[in-house]
Symmetry: C2
Subunit: 344 residues, 2 copies
Amino acid sequence: MNLKQLSNQLQLSQTTVSRALNDYPEVSEATRSRVKLAAAKGGYRPDMRAISLATGKAKTIGHVVPMANKDDVFSPIFAEFIASASQTYSQYGYELMLTVEKSRDDASTYRGLAAKRAVDGVILHSPQTDDPRLAVLQEVGLPFVVHGRMLNGEGYHWVDMDNHNAFKLATKLLLDLGHRRIALLNGREEMTFAWLRRAGYEEALNDGGVAINSEFMAADDLTERYGYQKAGAMLSMKVAPTAFLVSSYIVALGVRRAISQAGLVMGEQVSVIIHDDELSYFDNGGVKPQFTSTRSSVRQAGYEASKMLLELIENPDKEPTSVLMDTQLVIGSSTGPCPSLSES
Amino acid sequence: MNLKQLSNQLQLSQTTVSRALNDYPEVSEATRSRVKLAAAKGGYRPDMRAISLATGKAKTIGHVVPMANKDDVFSPIFAEFIASASQTYSQYGYELMLTVEKSRDDASTYRGLAAKRAVDGVILHSPQTDDPRLAVLQEVGLPFVVHGRMLNGEGYHWVDMDNHNAFKLATKLLLDLGHRRIALLNGREEMTFAWLRRAGYEEALNDGGVAINSEFMAADDLTERYGYQKAGAMLSMKVAPTAFLVSSYIVALGVRRAISQAGLVMGEQVSVIIHDDELSYFDNGGVKPQFTSTRSSVRQAGYEASKMLLELIENPDKEPTSVLMDTQLVIGSSTGPCPSLSES
DNA sequence: TATTTTTCTCAAAGCGCTTTAAAATTGTAG
DNA sequence: CTACAATTTTAAAGCGCTTTGAGAAAAATA
């Protein structure tokens, strides 16, 4: 059933019916309820594309997520973020259009979305320190919110967690426990989050008077194998690290595997701190979590970012705002005092 | 730039320009190339919604994924499937509209998508043994493909892996290794995949003359905690299982944790077989995987299903087709002979 | 009762495209 | 040079909605 049929059936003009349904004041209460009743009864749902064409609003938000790595993987972090944002959208009558793209640098997707009038705004995922997509989005004038940020956090809207501080505090905790050989298994450092984590890590080491050792640092896609291989390699060094700072739960699975394979016990000979995005199927636990972790809810970030974007769409001239989410440092059973405090 | 502007600029009618761009034969080659050049130069991209309204085709596919469990989680399986399907869509000029819904039984989302003309077809995720959404989709006449299937696999299109056989073979392997007390940590059995896995498991036990013990069976959302708690509880039974059949890698993480916490070694005192959806960040390994597993690529399923759906949309009267994907049984280091072969 | 104001309803244009039906142009014979 | 067909182009209608600018109807004021 479409508007024409409905208005014929009601013996009213399309104008009146449309206005009645959209709660315009120019229509009497009597007519309005009559119309609404008939619409409900007839199961009338306006054609989304027609509304869109007539109003100029797509009522759709675009998410363009890059494949997480060379293996063409869709990171569970994005999934969680999107699921959360999706809730906001449906609450406000928006749809979610998802594009998964192979190349992270390819800004043409955004050009396309804008030119095709497919979306009213987009969320920019996985920003790099100096991301070329920023300029494109600004050029085409499509409202957007960044999940994360570029190194220069000015002039656009973003929602991020405090990566720098999280890893600084985590490093500091390890230093306080007496660790001096602390490894960092980071994400790719083109990504701002990884860059900031490293910066936090280095700052804490400097503050603690510990020299930075590039042999203890790695950066790659966040997979189990990466954690396993890198941790394994580092543990077999003549002077091996006594602690690992790990950028995700998934990588930590590999680290844990390497540790136990080396005949060591996590939390005793080797300490591990992870960043935990609170993906609930992983469940890093309540009272005494498996892993000591810096925590921040991706779900919460999705909520904040989607809200922010909808507001921006309402009011396109809004001054850029940002949300920097705090992280918690939660002590679990994967950390303990450095075994050989005699050594430096 | 829109069609009108482009045609004005070219001094041609909108009809001709439209036809030139869409490769209709009624336009001379000279004009066609002139038009295409101008369009490319001017960065012309037709308004998606206008095309959609004019043609009646949304050029969009809907994916409605249920929250995986009470914790409102978006399963990484869906993410992988969708990422894969997404590739097919963009290749054929389709967009992907994602809806995440709280309630698994709520079919109103589908009614809405159909009535709003938002999509040309949908993928039905996470089907239950007797899924109410089936009737709704058939009623509204929206083309759809099921990822998985209902217990009755007739009358609709689906792509599934052979859950029954996979778990039957896995159980048989354990029986052949001498295990008699084999536990099954399954997904919720309203889901067809879980139902079929259990059926395969029971069939193998019957064939092997082993009585079915309901204390060795559990069904719940697929989380790490579930695996940890259930395996922990079972291992502390007076007569504990010597092997576990586990429905996912994530659950198996918990099982492994419980096993090592009980002071046992996986692959020696306790065997574990998992189903591995080949999420590449987990990397169950190449030569000698961590877990013995039944394997099936979700990525591949996403590819098959999306192709099937696009074909169905092209040709709506196509006879229902289905793809039953084989699974591989890959031996890893988590299985071994039953430690006490004397016991039955 | 006539006039103004307010309330309610409507016809028609427009959003940007496709597509039908018809017209203009070109080509081929007769 | 006309007649007819084939080729190329176009005007206009239509997709299903919103919204503008008016017109009727009802209510209020004179």
